[in-house]
């Protein structure tokens, strides 16, 4: 390798991006562009880093497939951290294959982890798990192990498997210590916070209290009838009745469960389900129809009986009815949940992650911004949204390790 590139790469490795820039700032050959890109990424100028890495990938010759693939991986990681989820996945997969073919297994694994993190972020848990499994348990450098265990923990948290999540975070903490990278240790700690911060609210017999993730998980094994506002289901034990496509029925089930064992008046039910301000005869007729539908759907778990005032829930074979709700009830709770990872998101990335239209995400963001719950920076396509800083699940920038050591 050549002299200044070696010196600059050593500076980068020693955590001195400015020292690296000093040595290659005026050079435009491929390795210098790549080095400058990584230095800029470490300094936080992701837009500049992206451009530099892209030019580096172009500048490497046809014989330098590995170097080019490493640039692609670095660019993909920058895209992930900038929440540019539309970044071409196929390009990353091809780079990963190239690295595998040429025996650069550490960077190939790094590429695989970026894929898995992206899948986790957009909620495709099965695919994320499959990608991790493909990588196997090959010996990885400690920093890569941290990333791997964070993804495992992320999947476990989304699946409400607290024990698995804690075990993975424990392994991540040990690997972070081995790696000696403070940013990684901090990332593992903040992931641990997720497990110790209330994840939900339990409403029973008119009273509320916060629940940790582990307690939410324990509910699955309880004998209670649970009205789950996260998944829009009513469940008990293994029986799950989904209301995903029947919002009106779910809107009736929830107040009935919250009031249990008391009943709920017809007026209150109509307000909750139809958002009707002035109730008239047509609403009463509609309520009768919808209660009939709800009764049919709930049949395996509960009955809905008429009372003098309105209706009451009568659960079968249980003496407990619970409502599981978000810690803070928000109209746009799902949008906030994604933004609470503390990273800047584009509205199109949010739409992709939420599976809704860009327009409705835009409306939600504008509404949230008016109440100061989110903030934005940039304009047009470059506009990004964030929540004011709170502990969350941040995604750091690790970049392919020996990018320049060819």
């Amino acid at each position: 390798m050549e002299s200044l590139i070696t010196a600059a790469a050593r500076a980068l490795e020693a955590g001195d991006p400015l020292g690296a820039l000093n040595r290659v700032a005026l050079r435009n050959d491929a390795p210098s562009l790549a080095l400058r890109g990584i230095a800029m990424a470490q300094l936080g100028d992701l837009a500049k880093a992206k451009t530099l890495l892209r030019s580096a990938a172009r500048a490497f010759g046809p014989r330098e497939a590995v170097a080019r693939a490493r640039c692609v991986v670095a660019e993909a990681e920058i895209a992930l951290v900038s929440r540019d989820l539309n970044w071409p996945v196929k390009t990353l997969a091809a780079a990963r294959a190239t690295l595998e073919k040429h025996g650069d297994l550490a960077n190939a694994a790094h590429a695989g982890h970026i894929e898995a993190r992206r899948l986790l972020l957009v909620g495709r848990l099965d695919e994320a798990e499959r990608t991790l499994a493909e990588l196997g348990a090959a010996p990885l450098p400690p920093a890569s192990q941290v990333v791997r265990e964070l993804v495992v923990a992320g999947i476990a948290i989304r699946r409400l498997r607290t024990k698995d999540a804690r075990a993975a975070l424990g392994r991540a903490a040990r690997a972070a210590q081995l790696a000696g990278i403070a940013a990684l240790t901090a990332e593992v700690e903040s992931a641990n916070l997720v497990l110790d911060t209330p994840a939900a609210r339990l409403i029973a017999r008119g009273k509320e209290h916060p629940l940790l993730l582990g307690q939410v998980e324990a509910l699955a094994a309880s004998k209670a009838l649970v009205v789950d506002t996260f998944h829009h289901t009513v469940r008990k034990g293994g029986i799950v009745i989904s209301f995903g496509t029947r919002p009106v029925l779910f809107a009736l089930a929830r107040p009935l469960a919250q009031a249990w064992p008391a009943d709920v008046s017809r007026e209150a039910l109509m307000t909750a389900a139809f958002r009707a301000r002035h109730v008239d005869e047509s609403h009463r007729a509609r309520l009768r129809v919808e209660i009939g539908r709800l009764r049919a759907k709930l049949k395996p778990l509960a009955d809905v009986s008429a009372t003098k005032q309105g209706f009451a829930l009568s659960p079968r074979k249980t003496r407990e009815v619970l409502v599981l709700a978000r810690p803070v009830e928000e109209k746009h709770a799902a949008v906030l949940a994604f933004l609470s990872d503390g990273e800047p998101w584009s509205s199109s990335a949010l739409a992709l992650a939420l599976g809704t239209s860009a327009r409705s995400v835009q409306r939600a963001l504008e509404e949230l911004a008016r109440s100061n719950k989110v903030q934005s920076f940039g304009h047009g396509r470059a506009r990004r949204w964030m929540t004011p800083p709170v502990p969350g699940f941040p995604t750091g920038l690790l970049l392919p390790g020996p990018l320049l050591k060819t």
Binding site: M1, E2, S3, L4, I5, T6, A7, R10, R23, R27, D29, A30, P31, G61, P62, R63, E64, A65, V66, A67, H102, G103, P402, K405, T406
Partner: protein
């Protein structure tokens, strides 16, 4: 042009604490190699490091009989081999894009990696005396018995080649196994070359073909 597979006679290292080998030379007793912030002298019989000098060492290494020459960043340092002291420095001809280094016939020969060039340089002033064009990225450079050899490394392929010092034409080529890198080259004056293994952090001895 004669072309054959390189015959690797022996491998030295990897050595503890050495991440990569950037340059190689031979002082008649020890094989010296550059490892970033050190120059290390290896006993070719035992394969162990006999001595190290703390000095910036990012690319080629050479020996003129008394001094070690070592490229660091964009300059060439002249080092007293006995004391390890840097005596003088001259600017390197490639301005930091330099790779291999050799001493022969009173001149320094410097490979300029991506420019695919070898410069003949005045060791006192750093003045470029002439430039030879190669066809591949140049890593190590060495002279032996009037033959100019250099290492190449482009993408995932490396070889050691003898070129015509006048025209740059390739006369002979020794191909290293796929995925094996050459990062520094030195002849022992006999039938061996020492070459650095780049990120593998090792040094290989390769047989020099006999003249018939």
């Amino acid at each position: 042009m004669k072309r054959s597979a390189a015959e690797i006679v022996r491998e030295y290292g990897p050595f503890a604490g050495v991440e990569a080998v950037h340059g190689v030379t031979y002082d008649g007793t020890h094989v010296w190699f550059a490892s970033g912030d050190k120059l290390n002298a290896v006993d070719p019989a035992s394969g162990t490091i006999a001595r190290s000098i703390d000095v910036a060492a990012h690319a080629g290494t050479a020996f003129d009989g008394r001094h070690l020459f070592q490229i660091a960043e964009d300059r060439i340092q002249k080092i007293d081999a006995a004391t390890g002291k840097v005596l003088t420095t001259i600017p390197s001809p490639g301005g930091g894009g330099d790779s291999g280094l050799a001493w022969a016939e009173g001149s320094l020969w410097v490979g300029q990696y991506r420019e695919r060039k070898i410069h003949q340089v005045d060791p006192e002033t750093g003045k470029i005396l002439r430039t030879i064009e190669s066809r591949r990225f140049v890593t190590g450079v060495t002279w032996v018995d009037g033959e100019l050899w250099h290492g190449t490394w482009e993408g995932e392929d490396s070889d050691i080649r003898r070129i015509d010092p006048e025209s740059g034409k390739v006369l002979e080529q020794l191909d290293l196994p796929a995925g094996t890198m050459v990062s520094g080259l030195e002849s022992d004056g006999g039938d061996r070359f020492f070459c650095g293994g780049g990120p593998r952090g090792n040094v290989r001895a390769v047989r020099r073909p006999r003249r018939s």
